[in-house]
Symmetry: C2
Subunit: 300 residues, 2 copies
């Protein structure tokens, strides 16, 4: 009789839905379910129920929308903190899962989970340093630096950097409730919807996508000059627009203006391998969430 | 007879001078000298002579101006690459020191050395993640992330990020030969000299310093949202201007606009501890260079 291999759970905890998966230690997914994000109590109970249907798990990992308190030792560790999402501010995500399932629970941001997923099993395999940017309803970045997820004061809130905004070309004031015309306020799916009056997937005015590429190329160059990742993965719904990646790469080459003189920033073919789509498609986040569980166990 | 403790060498290799030091493993400096940066051959020979006057060193570390090739395994590893500095492009710094002194030689950027110095012995002691920004003739950032210096594709070239530039308020086109109005092109000491027609230390128009604080506050917020360091140290000649740090902090609080709602970005007293001057004064770089030697030995 062969010993049963350990199983891990992962949750990609988003603002509209929670994707839950059971996987083996290599990240192969065995079962999944999708739970709508309603109240914390109902949503968490739904996830618990799904995991209880399976053979006992060894650990679970959660990649969650935020902001999150990730400071181990903080009384609010494991909480979603000041989110504007109704009913979810100051929600403890980790404790209810841990007490119901009696396993270690790893937690990180949704984008850090996606970065981890792509780094372990996707477009970032074997690299020391990787950035993953999602361009969806909002904009966020997760990063692996020196082989570990980047934390620090809090966690990257890259969506909120300021980028050049030419108000003659783009009079839109920006949609960020805090900053107006930060990156997210200018270039997220929500910003596109507010600026153009329709959803990004219904928009095919080339000028609109030229402008979008302008902002995202600034984001790419900013990541390059600040974090110096070996590769930048761009995921999220907006990044699915056909041709957007090519425009971003072309504009990033312009903005780099040959400095520094490395292939990635001067040669279009090398740029094609530097700024890429997620090789796990829509599974970067859930794959990384499972891996957060595997790693949490290593620390438990 | 007590065993003699090991000694280490450090070089802060700048574009105008090389500061050389001999220190013990705790970074206590025993002797220093300053060599003008002339040709590579003369400058390196001067450093070798200084180190040979001392008891045999165990290892040396170099924090150098760049750009540098730091990819171990690259044929150009240890070289200063495409610098505009006459005579210095494609100079191998590591090999001549290693062959003359017969010790392991550690190399990193000048700003990474300064970041390492402040992290090990100064304002960043005990933190996981620290950013050091120098605002001198140019602008650069070094960073420790997860307890190690941040590398990746190359190394941070933070001076070249774009920040919002209001041409009505500041018609100056910027001084960067590559990008014009990148951060360094707008806010370095060289940019100030070109915009105002005098050197920063001779400038006391409050409007000029308000503008400088504006750009540097954008730099601070950009670092915060991208790297999320636990502290940001600002050094370099321009940062010595009295009152500049206070203006940067005040403006960074404005720009953060309360997001995320953590003390560092909302409470002026916490911001005072978040954006700070170097606690090693002008010795961050040389202290870090010595530490590069200590660490190189650990890897040799
Ligand atoms: N094919 C598409 N092309 C362009 N935009 C898209 C496409 N699909 C979805 N979007 C946009 O992406 C955003 C949703 O992003 P997504 O990453 O799917 O989810 P979320 O960010 O909400 O978790 C919406 O703003 C939507 O308009
Ligand atoms: N007290 C001061 N106040 C303002 N600017 C200064 C001061 N001292 C030096 N500077 C400016 O700092 C720059 C030199 O920076 P420094 O860090 O000393 O050297 P470098 O960057 O060349 O290695 C010059 O542009 C100079 O005008
Ligand atoms: Zn914002
Ligand atoms: Zn530049």
């Amino acid at each position: 009789m062969s010993a049963t291999p350990p199983l891990y759970g992962g949750i990609e905890a988003g603002g509209t839905k929670w994707v839950c998966a059971v996987a083996d230690a290599e990240g192969r997914i065995i079962a999944t379910t999708v739970i709508p994000t309603t109240t914390p109590r109902t949503t968490i109970a739904g996830a618990v129920r799904f995991f209880q249907e399976h053979r006992t798990l060894t650990a679970i990992g959660v990649g969650s929308f935020g902001p999150l308190d990730l400071r181990t030792g903080s009384p609010a560790y494991g909480h979603i903190t000041a989110t504007p999402k109704p009913g979810w501010a100051h929600t403890d995500v980790v404790s209810p899962l841990r007490s119901a399932l009696r396993v270690p629970v790893g937690l990180d941001t949704d984008v850090n989970a996606a970065a981890l997923g792509e780094w372990r099993r996707g477009a970032g395999r074997g690299l020391e340093t990787l950035a993953y940017m999602t361009v969806g309803t909002g904009i966020g970045v997760g990063a692996v630096a020196n082989g570990r997820l980047l934390h620090g004061l809090l966690h990257p809130e890259f969506g909120h950097i300021r980028v050049p905004h030419d108000r003659t070309r783009d009079p839109f004031a920006g949609s960020c409730p805090f900053h107006g015309d930060c990156l997210e306020g200018l270039a997220s799916g929500e910003a596109m919807r507010r600026r153009w009056g329709r959803r990004a997937e219904e928009l095919d005015d080339p000028g609109a996508w030229e402008l979008e590429a302008e902002y995202l190329a600034h984001a790419v160059m900013n990541l390059t000059y600040t974090l110096s990742p070996e590769r930048i993965v761009i995921g999220g719904g907006v990044a699915k627009h056909p041709g957007l990646m090519a425009r971003i790469r072309a504009r990033a080459l312009d903005l780099a203006a040959g400095y520094p003189a490395i292939p990635e920033l001067t040669d279009p073919a090398a740029m094609d391998g530097y700024v890429v789509g997620p090789s796990l498609g829509d599974h970067s986040g859930i794959t990384g969430a499972v891996e957060l569980g595997v790693r949490r166990l290593a620390l438990a």
